[in-house]
Amino acid sequence: MNAVEMSKNGYLLLFHSNNWWQDLGRENLEKIVAQNNAWIERLMTAGKAKGGQALTRTGAMVSGKNGQIISDGPFAESKEVIGGYLLLNVETFAEATAVARTSPSLAYGAKVEVRPLTDACPLDARLQELARADEIAVA
């Protein structure tokens, strides 16, 4: 099993949302909330999830050399944004994916992204890649 398939730091589920619940009636909404609650509760009890939160659709995007460009939220209704996250305490991609596949929100059109938590930041990882390439070139 390679590094991609395992992560000792666990995995992050990112819930992509375009307000898929907006058009659900009260009954459906209550049902999905109950299903979702039960789902999270089960994962917590089993020790497979260790925390998560929902994010508002408001927000700001900071960019530019000194962070001088600040565009304000809220994000347009139709735009897909990350609506929440759940930290998983599982060690393999396969298990994280299996957990994601049981999310009750999928039936309503939600999308879930599974990403490993890493030790090295992407820059460090790239530096290591470059160092390895140099070693190969020297050899």
Binding site: L12, I40, Q53, M61, I82, G84, L106, L117
Partner: protein, 125 residues
């Protein structure tokens, strides 16, 4: 919550520049943690899986293209959006083209059953 958007902005940097930004970034997080303003944070691997549809169809790779993919996050414990934005503006990756999305955490959303912040904090401390 700060979401660091984009996983390709560092590609054009020299190894020295990358080293420098990486060190500054770690120092920044350490400082915020010591001040109690950051309570969790992690880089994310570029690999990903996307799950969608009633039957949980699995696709390889994150949903977005490299410039829009989330490369990491900080969970901040600050009371105002202004303070969160001020912190985001200190991100050492900004001069290189990184983007930081600042998003308030929703505490009492009916669709947010996962309000286990205490557990999150307990694990990350």
């Amino acid at each position: 919550m700060l979401l660091f958007v984009g996983m390709d902005w560092h590609k054009g940097l020299s190894p020295e520049q990358m080293q420098k930004v990486s060190e500054e970034w770690m120092e920044w997080f350490k400082h915020l943690t010591e001040e109690g303003k950051a309570v969790a944070g992690h880089p994310l691997g570029f690999e990903g899986r996307g799950i969608s549809g009633r039957n949980g169809h699995v696709t390889d790779g994150p949903f977005a293209e490299a410039k829009e993919v989330v490369g990491g996050y900080f969970l901040l414990d600050v009371p105002t959006m202004d303070e969160a934005v001020a912190i985001a503006r200190q991100c050492p990756g900004l001069p290189c083209g990184a983007k930081v999305e600042v998003r308030p955490v929703l505490l009492n959303c009916p669709l947010n059953p996962a309000n286990k912040i205490e557990e999150t904090l307990a694990v990350t401390k």
